[in-house]
Each structure stands twice: as C-alpha cells, then as structure tokens.
C-alpha cells in the first residue's frame, strides 16, 4: 500500500492540483454571485439565468449541429481513406505523413489556413468561380458560417479516424475477406457485414473519443469566427470563453463549465466503462 502510494502518488498529486481541486472549487463557486470582490450565495440563480437566456438552447443546438456534422464527415472520410490505404502500396510510407498534417498542426494554423482559403478571392472562391461571380463572405453569413467551419473541422480531425480505423482493418484475417468474396459478397456487404462488425471495438472507442473531442473543440471555431457573426457559431465551449473573457461574468462562466462537464461525463460513460474492461487492471 505504501509502496503503491510512492509510485502512483506523483500522478495523483498533479491530477488533484490541476483538475480535482479547481473543479471542486468551481462547482462551489457556481452557486455564488460575485460583484466588486464580494461573493454571496445565490443557490441555482446562475444556472437559472443560463437556462432562461435564449442563448442556451441556440448554443446547445449549435453544439449538436457542429458535433454531428463534423463527426459524420470525419468518420466517412477517415473510413474511406482507411479502406483505400488498407493494401500494399509502395508509395504509402512516403506520402502518408501528408494525410496526417491536418491532425498534427496546431488549431490556430488550420484555422488560419481556412480563413485564408475562405477569404474574398481566396482558393475556395477561385474553385467555385464557374458558379459565382463574386463568392459570398463564407465566414460572415449567419447561414453559411456553420457549414464553412464544419468543413474545416472535418479536414482537421479525419486523420485520427484514418489512423485508428486503418489499424483495426489491418487486424482482419485476409481469409475472412477471401471467403466472403468466394461466396459472392459485394464490396458494400463485405464492409457492413464483415469489416465493420470485426473492428466494432475500435469503431466504438474512436467514435466516443472523437465525439467528446469534437463537442469540446474550441480552436477550430473560435479562431475562425470568434463565435460570430452574431453568435451564429457560438457553441457551448465558445460561449463559456466569451462569457468569462469578453463579458467578464465569471459566475455565469463557472455555472456553464459545470454544465459542460456534466454533459461530457454523460457522453463519456460508455467509453469509461468499456475501457475499464479492456485495460483489465
């Protein structure tokens, strides 16, 4: 027992200092309102204020929209890439780093790249020239901003799905696929009846981690739009950030953080339970 404390202790010291203590303190503070350095207990008033503001439902829906759009796009793109590269190609080892670039670069760089592509007369406008005389302001139109940031988000994260799903596909015995082909299965049947069910554990883990990361992804939206135009891209994480650092309303930001944390833990529960079984401590 004492021996274990020596080995495990340092990691828990950091977890407590950087995570447990701040979270606990934040939960307590979310029941207080502070003004001019004095804080008073207000019960659930901060939470009520959040729920009553019109922003709550629109932010919640935007977070769902963003998460669903990015997740679906990343999964499909990552899977297609994994299926394509699940064969022996001598160029693979030289060019695969190119696929990983979006995942490896900082969010501020991918955001900058996409702001540049979407800018007036930028690459996107050049490519779409046959369809528009002057391209729309992709990131300034409330109706276009979400699709625009979702495309950028898909690009940024697809390599993660590619890496994970390819690793899974490579564990499938070749005989299994050969046998299915002999039985007359087509490509779609092989994918949905054999390959995906065979790698369902990796698919599950990848999806849950991807969903949590995406729902909480901050850089990819904030650094492109700041949450605008007029809150049209203000997902929950961006709302928290702006509440704290633009409106300087720390009490409300605390309560929002508590809500986000609860949501994350709820989504993550299946992952945590499954993962505990897999690692078999």
């Amino acid at each position: 027992m004492a021996a274990a404390a020596l080995w495990i202790g340092p990691s828990y010291l950091i977890f407590v200092l950087i995570m447990a203590f701040p979270i606990a303190w934040n939960i307590i503070e979310s029941f207080f309102a502070s003004s001019y350095g004095k804080s008073t207990f207000v019960g659930l008033a901060n939470f009520r204020q959040i729920v009553d503001s019109g922003q709550f439902y629109s932010s919640f829906l935007l977070t769902l929209y963003w998460t669903a759009g990015v997740f679906a796009g990343q999964f499909v793109l990552g899977l297609l890439l994994a299926l394509f590269f699940n064969r022996k190609l001598w160029v693979s080892r030289y060019i695969r780093p190119l696929i990983l670039i979006p995942w490896a670069i900082p969010g501020i760089v991918s955001s900058t790249a996409w702001v540049f592509l979407y800018s007036q007369g930028g690459l996107v406008d050049q490519i779409l020239k046959p369809f528009f005389t002057t391209g729309p302001a992709w990131l300034a139109e409330p109706g276009l901003v979400m699709p625009a940031v979702i495309v950028a988000g898909i690009w940024k994260g697809a390599p993660f799905y590619f890496l994970m799903l390819l690793a899974g596909l490579q564990t499938i015995p070749a005989e299994l696929i050969e046998a299915a082909k002999l039985d007359g299965a087509n490509r779609w049947q092989i994918l949905t009846r054999i390959e995906l069910p065979y790698i369902r554990n990796i698919v599950g883990l990848t999806s849950i981690l991807g969903l949590i990361w995406t729902a909480n992804y901050f850089d990819g939206i904030y650094l492109m739009t700041g949450g605008g135009p007029v809150n049209a891209s203000t997902t929950l994480p961006i709302w928290i950030y702006n509440t704290a650092f633009s409106d300087f309303n720390l009490s409300e930001a605390s309560a929002l953080s508590v809500i986000l944390l609860l949501l994350v833990l709820l989504i993550a529960l299946p992952y945590l339970l499954r993962r505990r079984g897999l690692d078999a401590v």
Binding site: P22, L100, I101, A104, I105, N216, F218, D219, I240, V264
Partner: protein, 271 residues
C-alpha cells in the same frame, strides 16, 4: 502486364489523394513564399521569395514566442516522463487495494476537456498568482497528458514477463532496482513516444495559454500568432509564414511516432 498497370494506377491514385487532402496546408506553404502579394495570381508570375520569412524574424515576436513555447512544452515533457513511468509501473506491477478505482480516475482525466477546465484553472491561477508563468502552464499541460502516457507505458510494462522481475529479485535486486535497471530500459520506446505526444499536444494548445498567459512578453507561438493576426489583418505574407514555422515542430515529431499513437489510444485492442 495488366497487374503492373493496375498497381501503378493505385499508387498514382494514392499520391493524388494525399496531395489533395493536404491542399489547405500546402496552399499556405506555397503562398508564404509569395511575399506580400499573396492574392496575386498563384502560378502565372510566381517568383518564390523569402521576404515574408525575413520579415517574421526581423519584425515580429516569433523568435521570443518560440522560446516561450519551448519552455512550457519542455516543462510538460520533463514532468510527465517520470510521473507517467512511475504510475504505469505501479498499475502494472503492484497489487494494492483501490487499484481499479484509481485507474478509473486516470481514465476520467483522459476525457476531461480543457474547455470545461479553463474557468476553474483561471480561478486557481489568480489565487496562486500564476498568470504568465510558463512553467505553471507547462504543469497544466502535463496534467492533461499524464493519462495518455500512463496508458501507453503501462501497455509496454504489461507485455514484459513477470519472470524478468522474479529473476532479478532472486539475484538480490530491490523493487526500485528492478524498475530502474531491468524494466525501465525495456520500456524506453514507450517513454520516448510519450514525451513526443506530450510535446505535440502542448505545442498545439491555444485555449489554456490564451487564458493563463496575460502578459504579451510571455505569449506562446499560438497565442502570438492569433494576436499578430488580429493586429495585422492584411499582412497575410507574415501570417502565413508564421503559420508554417509554427507547424513544423509538431508535424515532424508527430509523423515520427504516429504508430505508437494508435497503440495507446486503442489500448492495444484488436478489432
């Protein structure tokens, strides 16, 4: 013959796909050599110039911010290496009560998003007067990456046979000697991979640095780039050159170790 044609076609297709996917990044790399006139015709009169890069080195804070980022990311690496290795050894080799519960706690820290912690950390930082402290920022980076490191290194420890430990103990080694002289050298690849992941993850951060670093002289590269972009919205040449420079360390380090990444995130799960 037909077989060979088919094989070449697949390889060509692979190259095209990879290049197409990288276009948003390759495009800014190309334009960063365009000088100030980035919106000019891209190919017709393209004379590569380093002027954007010389501007960045001469007139921006980027060199200083590179050092700041290295301090924060280096601190994160230096802290997380011993801490994760020790904890991984503990979970892999010592049977103690509460082990499952503590390990479950590690998994919880892996999924905690920085967005839910940025406000709590902001308060703790103001309590401890830690704003603009690059080493403190590094400690917070370490916290978010320790779980990943523990999972990766523990996986390596688990694959080492217990008979190694037993033989060394029979030869008179203490537990600490077994750890240091017998097992640690064998998990070095996992420790190295952990170090790289911590560095790359920390290098990518914007959120924590932007809220915990308040003085502009301590800005990290990402916060610096965003600030520069806000103040010089039309100087795309310098913005793009900075973006390329900021990306290089993490691209190089991540591609070198991506095979370990799958192993740790999937927990060695097959299928």
């Amino acid at each position: 013959m037909l077989f060979r044609v088919k094989r070449i076609a697949w390889n060509v297709a692979a190259v095209l796909i990879c290049v197409a996917l990288a276009v948003p990044f390759l495009w800014i790399v190309l334009e960063s050599f365009h000088g100030a006139d980035v919106f000019g015709p891209a190919f017709s009169a393209f004379r590569p110039t380093l002027s954007s890069y010389t501007f960045v080195f001469a007139h921006t804070q980027l060199p200083r911010q590179f050092v700041n980022s290295l301090i924060a990311c280096g601190t994160a690496m230096l802290i997380s290496i011993p801490v994760t290795t020790m904890a991984a050894y503990g979970y892999s080799r010592i049977r103690f009560r509460g082990r499952r519960l503590l390990f479950f706690g590690v998994l919880v820290t892996q999924i905690l998003p920085a967005t839910a912690l940025v406000i709590p950390l902001y308060k703790v930082w103001s309590l401890g007067h830690l704003f603009s402290n690059l080493a403190a920022l590094g400690v917070s980076y370490a916290a978010f990456n320790i779980a990943l490191g523990i999972l990766l290194v523990k996986n390596f420890f688990d694959n080492l046979p217990l008979s190694l430990d037993e033989a060394a103990i029979l030869d008179g080694c203490s537990r600490r000697q077994v750890f240091w002289y017998v097992l640690r050298p064998l998990v070095t690849p996992a420790i190295a991979a952990t170090a790289v992941f911590v560095f790359v993850n920390a290098w990518q951060d914007y959120l924590l640095a932007s809220s915990l670093i308040t003085s502009s002289s301590e800005f990290t590269v990402n916060v610096g780039l965003y600030a520069f972009k806000g103040a010089n919205t039309t100087n795309w040449g310098a913005i793009l050159a900075t973006s390329v420079l900021v990306s290089l360390p993490s691209i190089l380090m991540f591609t070198a170790t991506q095979r370990y990444f799958v192993r740790v995130v999937s927990g060695g799960v097959k299928g």
